[in-house]
């Protein structure tokens, strides 16, 4: 019995790592742009497609495909960032919702137009199972957890010590004062966005081997999973989001086991709503900045 619970917790950490990499990107974008990026899942999808094209069309090995997937996502993010996201800075919330929805539609359907709507199979990746402390996991999952930790630590370091990181924090705290201090808000916004989107793309490439099925509409589900996480973690709060992602992953695992798999997706929003009733400011931010 105890073993089963531990096993489910491990499962939860695995899926939590996937959510975490995507969610921290989304929360950073929110922190700086004050926009909920409804297109975030699409960057996850683009990363996956980039890698898939590399493997399927060009026969490149998986590690190279990872790089290509992330780079492809980043390139598209540059375009979207310049033409769309920068203009959202300072606009009311509704504008952000509609604009990112529009972007999501464009990205999703362009991929469907170019590659066809049918589902593709992702070959490649390290899918051999490996046993660790009595738990069997595909090697890829261990890779995901490790990279998740690297990303988290890397972001923490960047946000605390680097110039760009400090600028990001400044923008998320008080946009007006940034101009006074000499921070180019649009520049920071653009780079935060590209970073966030690239992280989503990275998550997509890493999970593609174990998710197997690749199709243009796969991003929507990810967006819906990530939204409750960033609220619970505190908008703009990287640490909190990471923890919230893990909590959600574990909660989902436990619910799937003890209640039923069909309730898994409601766990995210149900947990969110319970948390908001109890702590309207999210689990981790000391006070609601947003």
């Amino acid at each position: 019995m105890f073993y089963t619970i531990i096993e489910q917790v491990v499962n939860g950490i695995v899926s939590g790592s996937v959510y975490a990499i995507v969610a921290v990107g989304m929360t950073m974008i929110f922190g700086v742009l004050r926009a909920i990026n409804f297109a975030h899942g699409e960057y996850y999808m683009l990363g996956t497609f980039g890698a898939w094209v590399a493997i399927d069309y060009f026969d490149l090995p998986y590690p190279v495909a990872i790089v290509i997937g992330v780079v492809a996502t980043a390139v598209i993010a540059v375009v979207v960032g310049n033409f769309v996201m920068q203009r959202i800075v300072g606009a009311p919330a509704e504008a952000g919702v509609l604009a990112t929805l529009g972007v999501a539609l464009i990205l999703q359907n362009t991929v469907i137009l170019v590659f066809g709507g049918g589902y593709k199979f992702f070959s490649g990746g390290y899918i051999e199972p490996v046993t660790l402390f009595g738990f069997t996991l595909a090697e890829q999952r261990i890779l995901i957890i490790i990279i998740g930790l690297i990303v988290f630590v890397g972001l923490e370091l960047m946000v605390t010590y680097s110039r760009m990181g400090k600028a990001m924090r400044a923008v998320s705290q008080n946009i007006e004062c940034c101009a006074v201090v000499g921070i180019d808000v649009r520049h920071v916004a653009l780079w935060t966005f590209i970073l966030g989107a690239a992280l989503a793309g990275l998550s997509g490439v890493l999970t593609a081997p174990v998710n197997v099925s690749v199709y243009g509409g796969m991003g929507e589900l990810i967006t819906f999973k990530t939204l409750p996480i960033i609220i619970m973690g505190g908008l703009g709060n990287v640490r909190g989001t990471f923890v919230a992602a893990m909590i959600l992953g574990i909660a989902e695992s436990l619910v799937a086991t003890y209640v039923g798999l069909q309730f898994r997706d409601t766990v995210g929003f149900a947990t969110l709503m319970l948390v908001l009733m109890w702590r309207p400011h999210g689990l981790f931010s000391a006070q609601a900045r947003f």
Binding site: G117, Y215, M218, L261
Partner: protein
């Protein structure tokens, strides 16, 4: 100034599109050059686009084959698509447009049952023939034919008998009595399990755990570990083709591959599924109307041609839509006209030689499709039985 110009451009652009639409609509009604206008309603965007895309390609391939052979009675088929996005509102809008503006006589659609159900009254009012090729809700044909909707036909198996046959084989030939359920959380998956439950007492079997996964789910590990520890002897799965390889792989991870077989229907017997997780799919039992590896000349020709043309293997949706277009062509040929009434009558009485055997329609306009039962042995599907499904309609 640039902004002002762009605004104007935006308005002008929208107006132009509107104008174009109205004028093209007018034209569509006028060109009556004797082509057969066939409407295809399927999800072309949104998450279900992955099924709609296969459906369209299957239909297009069939149309090309027919047209290059001279058409039906000299008339070429012209496919007009309508995007349902998998929601009933869009499906009905697409259907209305096809009927009123594009003036189609025949419609094939949809993939989602809710959309098909919403389309039924619309085609009935307009007297347009609707052949459904992919929806599984039994209500569609309970209410068709003598059930009320005379213009709806379905060329797709229902799950009633499939559930029975699968359970029967598992109980009698394999001696299973304890099952875990892991089916897709749609009307297809749920209905199949409902039917299965009906027959459990007959075989003295029970369901230990019951879980439904949403379409697009990628993480089955928790449920599979639960199943592993529950003592179930087999997993009843009615689900989607693209989830099967994922489940198979995770079965290996969790350690139940080769120990607990999958039974039901989710394209187990496809080369790609088996290749993805051979150990997990060993011993899988499936009842299907068609599988990509079906061993008949027509079927193999279809698979080869599809793979060559589209660079990817066909799935069930591609096949049924391909077959249905050919079925319709045959009905038109037999009616010797494109008059809707005559074609409908021809369809009701048709004996159609499909790639899997003869197809006829019962009085509820439901196709009687020959089905086969397969078990995967040594990585290859082996046919264990064939049966035809007669349905017990509620009074």
């Amino acid at each position: 100034m640039t902004i002002y110009l762009s605004r104007r451009g935006f308005c002008v652009g929208s107006a132009l599109i509107g104008f174009q639409a109205i004028s093209s609509g007018a034209f569509a009604a006028r060109t009556e050059d004797g082509t057969i206008k066939l409407g295809l309603v399927a999800p072309m965007s949104g998450p279900n686009a992955r099924y709609g895309a296969f459906s369209l390609r299957g239909a297009q391939m069939a149309t090309k084959e027919i047209n290059s052979a001279g058409g039906v009675g000299g008339r070429k088929i012209n496919i007009l698509t309508g995007d349902s996005q998998g929601t009933p509102v869009e499906g009905v809008s697409a259907t209305r447009r096809l009927i009123d503006q594009d003036q189609v006589d025949f419609i094939i659609g949809d993939v989602s049952s809710s959309v098909t159900l919403a389309m039924q009254p619309v085609v009935e009012d307009a007297g347009v023939l609707l052949i459904n090729a992919a929806s599984s809700n039994p209500m569609i044909t309970y209410k068709a034919g003598v059930g009320g909707f005379k213009w709806t036909f379905r060329n797709y198996p229902t799950d009633e008998n499939r559930a029975l046959i699968v359970l029967q084989y598992a109980a009698e030939k394999k001696g299973f009595t304890k099952y875990a359920v892991l089916s897709v959380d749609t009307d297809y998956g749920r209905a199949a399990i409902e039917f299965t439950k009906k027959y459990l007492p007959r075989f003295k079997s029970q369901i230990l755990t019951e879980d439904y996964y949403k379409e697009g789910e990628v993480d089955f590990r928790s449920v599979l570990s639960k199943i592993r520890d529950s003592g179930a002897q087999a997993i009843i799965m009615y689900g989607n083709a693209d989830s099967t390889p994922i489940v198979g792989r995770q079965m290996i991870e969790v350690g139940i591959a080769g120990k607990i077989p999958l039974i039901g229907n989710a394209e187990f017997n496809t080369a790609s599924s088996i290749k993805a997780a051979p150990k997990a799919l060993e011993g899988a039992i499936e009842a299907a109307a068609w599988i990509p590896s079906y061993d008949s000349e027509k079927s193999r020709a279809f698979v080869d041609k599809f793979t060559a043309e589209f660079r990817e293997a066909p799935n069930n949706h591609a096949y049924v839509h391909w077959e249905t277009v050919h079925l319709l062509a045959k009905a038109i040929e037999q009616a010797q006209s494109i008059d809707r009434e005559k074609v409908r009558t021809a369809l009701s009485n048709i004996h159609y030689a499909s790639a899997v055997g003869e197809v006829t329609f019962d009085d509820h306009n439901q196709a009687r499709l020959p089905m086969i039962l397969l078990e995967i042995e040594n990585g290859k599907p082996a046919i264990k039985g064939a049966y035809s499904a007669e349905i017990d309609y509620p009074k």
